[in-house]
Amino acid sequence: MKLMRNSLLLLSAVVFLCASAFAAGDTAPGRQMARQATKGKELWITADHSKFDALKQPFKSGPEVTKACLSCHTEAGHQFHKTIHWTWLDPKAEKELKVGKGGLVVNNFCINIQSNEPRCTSCHAGYGWKNKDFDFSSQEKIDCLVCHEQTGTYKKFPSGAGNPAPPPGKKFKGNGKFYAAPEWNNVAQSVGRPTRKNCGTCHFYGGGGDGVKHGDLDSSMLKPAKTLDVHMGMDGQNFSCTRCHTTVKHDIAGRIYSTPAATERKSLLEDDLGSKIMCESCHSARPHKSELGMKLNDHTDKLACQSCHIPTFARELPTKMWWDWSTAGRKKDGKPYVEKGEWGKPVYMTKKGDMRWEKNVVPEYYWFNGTIDTITAQTTIDPTKPVQVSKPVGSIDDKNSRIMPFKVHRGMTPYDKVNKNIVIPHLFGKDKDAFWKGYNWENAVAYGMKYAGLPFSGEVGFVETEYVYPTTHMVAPKENTVACEECHSKQGRLAKMTCFYMPGRDASSIVDAGGWFVVIASAVGVLLHALGRIFMSGRKED
């Protein structure tokens, strides 16, 4: 087989000689420049923060530290105030729409932060966002440390509205862990460029726990093996988050709601100053080098790299796939309880209802142009079918759209049966209206909606919802990518995407039936003919 193929290749030499002219990508100057720009692991740091007098003062609180930071980094405050890490609002969306988790956007996890601030904003890079009165113009309320401290000891208290525990520390009832008060001088003097741990502090634990939200971002990404993430693998490239999420004036490259990741597919090969957030930025649009890879390269116009290179997500730790709020509130012996399932994850909580976890999840695929459409608590919904709380924007007709893998988190989410909109429940708080205290939906929703300044009819129902996350981390090594036949087969990963013809999956039943009929008829014909010859010639010899 091999020999013959080689001889055929010889025969095809003319064609391949022509083809080789196109394979000069590796020495492209843009690629070399990109390598130079990102190669050096030694940073050109010229300051040791432990030697700064400003950081040797006796700090008693976060804002004091921030003030010290700003005394040298005079522009950092203005810069940070403009970023989504501070505003929690989509900078590209119209202000009145309040798009963003700091606005009226709802998800199908804990739904919305309004009236639940102290719990939710423990992940805000700021201090003290405990209600509507938070002063977004105050630079001192920025939490520089959560992103920059390098001792690993700095922890915000889970229900502390972004503040660490007061001295000497405090136990959090939610998980039974003790949160020590920071040693401010130590943490302040340790600052440096953000590491995986800094980013992961919030991004691995979104939704109140490890791996709850993304599925491709959890604590397994702190020290991943190459098999889990080929870029971040400790035994591989060992990239930190910031290697791809490049930053200009504290504005970090990444996807924000309505903003496409990149509207033009620019590669660093073409323009060394392009955003580095796309796979293409470093790998180009024709990344496969082998002879076999030529056909794979033809896929990059329709398929996101992630579709083949992230075969499954949540490969090491489970992620939450289903959250049914409608069953929340059941009690055992008059008390709230938690039931744990496989992997030690809660499958029922009185506070939160039924939930399902999965590991090694095969993503769902949608056309995606980089934009996610989200609804808010003001959007009118159709409760007769699953509500897409967020959905990928894109279509086969849009040349900027490609097929992208998604985690789809489904659940039953409270909504207003009369006004037909997702509601904002008041979950967290010491008051009786808080659902996690009083376990009364009507009271909790009435409180939450009033707080958000939105109407509420008084009737709470539950509607099935879907929330999407583009799957983009946990890129597997090339040996573990999605095999061709996982899509190119009758019942493959893309079985639902019927808007195009795909070899191996699609066929015309008329052509196939007609074709096989002709082939089989021919075979039967010659068989009968042969039998005739055998039979007749036997007689002839008599």
């Binding site: 055929l8 036949e485 195009f500 074709g515 082939v519 007749m536 002839k540």
Partner: protein
């Protein structure tokens, strides 16, 4: 068989080379093509696609050489269709063959194919194979359609024509292989396609139409 047989050298080295190379290519294209179509699993989809593409291009190159050879040697005249004796040949395969009759048209240097073969091979090499190659090339270059101004094409249509041709070729292959057994011995035709030498009756008189001027 009546009379003695004589051996004539019918198929030149290149003819035999291209015949068998083409045979292997088409059979392998058939196997890999059907795998890509999802009929069975043998090489795995990726390998099957790669093989199919390589084989297809190889065949195309070979085909160019064949056509060039046919044109320059004048052998293309072997494919000029004729209705003379067409009916007799058809009748022979439908009944005469069962009675042990002799084939109405014997092979000769100037007429390697009987009228039925001429018709079939002409359609094959002038219509079916080019159509298969064109649709195959289009299928292969799917991503470049916009560049060539071919966006109006539909992959579904191209793929289905390619499939339809493949079924027609497969049906041809079945009949073609069977027909090799209809010589004066079961393996005579196949042996001739290897050695180049075909046995024909000594006393067979070629007719005028079976001779063409070189």
């Amino acid at each position: 068989m009546s009379g003695n047989m004589k051996k004539i050298y019918l198929y030149s080295k290149f003819e035999r080379f291209w015949h068998w190379t083409q045979a292997i290519l088409i059979i392998l294209l058939m196997v890999t093509g059907l795998e890509v179509h999802g009929v069975f699993s043998l090489f795995g989809f990726e390998k099957a696609v790669d093989l199919h593409n390589t084989l297809g291009i190889s065949w195309l190159i070979l085909f160019v050489f064949i056509i060039f050879w046919l044109l320059t040697t004048g052998e293309w005249k072997q494919y000029i269709p004729t209705t003379r004796k067409l009916f007799e040949v058809a009748k022979y395969y439908a009944s005469g063959i069962f009675k042990g009759e002799e084939h109405p048209v014997q092979k000769s240097k100037d007429a390697k194919h009987n009228p039925l073969q001429r018709l079939v091979y002409l359609k094959l090499s002038a219509i079916l194979l080019p159509l298969q190659m064109v649709t195959g090339l289009l299928y292969w270059t799917y991503n470049d359609w916009p560049k060539y101004g071919l966006d109006f094409l539909s992959l579904s249509v191209v793929a289905n024509i390619h499939m339809a041709c493949a079924y027609a070729l497969l049906a041809f292959l079945v009949v073609h292989i069977y027909m090799t057994t209809t010589g004066h011995t079961i393996t005579a035709h196949i042996a001739a396609m290897f050695s180049g030498w075909e046995e024909v009756p000594e006393d067979y008189k070629v007719e005028e139409w079976e001779v063409h001027d070189k």
